[in-house]
Symmetry: none
Subunit: 298 residues, 2 copies
DNA sequence: CCGGTGTTGAAGAAATTATTTCAGAACCGG
DNA sequence: CCGGTTCTGAAATAATTTCTTCAACACCGG
């Protein structure tokens, strides 16, 4: 990973295009021809090889070298690196001008860096999510003709738990397969053909989870997988895969996007089953009232 | 007279980004890693030399060659040329407005509505988060001089679990107080003055949680509260409160923002304790290696 | 636990790109 | 038209990049 080096000595403010225009009259005839060609379809025209750039402008390669050196670069590769850097800024900035999230904190505060990364993850995840798969998953989970089983791994256990909790409210026939337990065979016993197994599996992918998925599949279960963008080996056995971006500035991966997708699925399922769900929720509320576990207000 | 030749014959197919996403599951592990890196800040990341691209993605150059060939290119230069062509088109008509999140789905699809709401929640939460409190919380949790106890409610149990899991890796002296259990008095026994109790409490606020917080406070524990914007009654006893927006188009509230804040705190704590954390993580990894619970790759 | 299969990257060969050199072309003022 | 100066690109050279080979490795199924 080299490349983004030594950018400090020359005017970091002006773009290459600006510099070309500004110093246009210092250039020689062949160089002007080249500059014109570069500006013609800036900056893409400068991103191919020096050979192609020269040919495109109708000048020789030494002319190209001489001109970029006049602009203050050590050589063509350095010039091109700067061009790419500019392009990167130009591409990413117009899309999102929201630089800081916690306005009171500096840009470099972890709150802003982390949130920035997560928002990026959300963008990318949503951009490539397969809507048809999403809808299919919601349909599957809303269908009370079949049972739903949920399983997570070491890290994703919390998510599995969360899904289980809410699904229990939405509909009957939901079970949580305890992670780390050796009770899997028993859970498999209860898995009928057509049942849906929701699997959470992110790095590092767990052998036990894979095994369970395979066996469930063998029993005729349909498998829905929530995973990260690398794709867990369970994907090979899954009917539907929902994959998320999880990279953040931390020693771990982020499960925020997974949670977002999960909640969205829940919302979609709830929409589909609202008639039953409403009635179930009312009964649940009334039970809570009787137990006085919760405060009525505040 | 030169230059603008032979641009039309190449399949008017899909962009490279689309092809990468579409055929993602045909790719091998290293190739997926590469594809991810390429999409990360597309297409700029693909425009440097094959060496740099490979290094950036953390794979070898042969992997790059193999993948672009899988995509139907004769070699890397040809792939790059296509990337430049695409870029040229994209630059010339900069109608790159970002209205919806899942571009393939209609605006009114739950994916877009829900995500829109969550992003709004993130904005509002971050805008009003108290950075000083946040930093103080990170400091408290990073301080190994005192123990940390974590407790959640019916819904937030999953989050408490998640925090506990990661804090366990970061530092010693972390305990999870089982929700719904009647064992609280025992947990209180283990709570020394100066210890930190992290409480999760969102609507509907739980009486038992409040009780626990009060008693812990009475024993000299310091209390950190994660809650929603309405503020749980625990706030009155808490030293630091981190509150989140949680409204979404669903019958429930969203815990995505809570999760985001939680992970950010974890990242901040990890930054502060990196010296010990690193060593602990390495030991953990080595134990995992020995158990073969996880796959080495893929 | 053990070969078979597919994936991976180190290393080196081949191809291409970038730089330097230098002879001649173009210009310029006289 | 000429001597001096600057500019230019062909060609040689240097540096890099790209591609290929192959042994090591992980995973899989028995």
């Amino acid at each position: 990973m080299q490349g983004v080096q030594g950018v400090c000595e020359r005017d970091p403010q002006k773009t290459i295009a600006e510099r070309l225009q500004q110093r246009f009259d210092e250039l020689t005839r062949a160089e002007r021809q080249l500059a014109g060609s570069l500006l013609e379809n800036y900056p893409v025209s400068g991103l191919s090889s020096i050979t192609a750039v020269a040919a495109q402008a109708g000048v020789s390669t030494p002319t190209v070298v001489r001109m970029v050196q006049k602009l203050g670069f050590r050589g063509f590769p350095e010039f091109q690196a700067e061009l790419r850097r500019e392009l990167g800024e130009r591409i990413s900035n117009p899309i999102d001008k929201h630089d800081t999230w916690a306005a009171k904190a500096p840009d470099q505060h972890i709150l802003n860096r982390f949130t920035e990364a997560v928002i990026g993850n959300i963008r990318q995840t949503l951009a490539q999510v397969d809507t048809a798969s999403f809808d299919a998953v919601a349909d599957l989970l809303a269908d009370t003709a079949h049972g739903v089983h949920v399983v997570g791994g070491r890290i994703t256990r919390a998510l599995a738990d969360y899904l289980f909790l809410h699904m229990q409210v939405v509909r009957p026939g939901v079970s949580l397969i305890q992670s780390l337990a050796n009770a899997w065979p028993h859970d498999l016993l209860n898995m009928a053909p057509g049942d849906v197994l929701v699997v959470f599996d992110v790095r590092r992918y767990e052998n036990a989870t894979l095994k369970l998925a395979e066996m469930a599949r063998g029993q005729g279960a349909r498998i829905v997988l929530f995973t990260d963008q690398w794709g867990s080996p369970v994907a090979a056995h899954a009917d539907h895969v929902l994959s998320c971006r999880i990279a953040v500035p931390s020693a771990w991966d982020s499960n925020v996007v997974l949670m977002l997708l999960l909640e969205t699925v829940l919302a979609a399922v709830q929409e589909r089953t609202w008639a039953q769900t409403r009635e179930r929720m009312e009964r649940l509320e009334s039970m809570f009232d009787k137990t006085r576990l919760f405060r009525k207000f505040t």
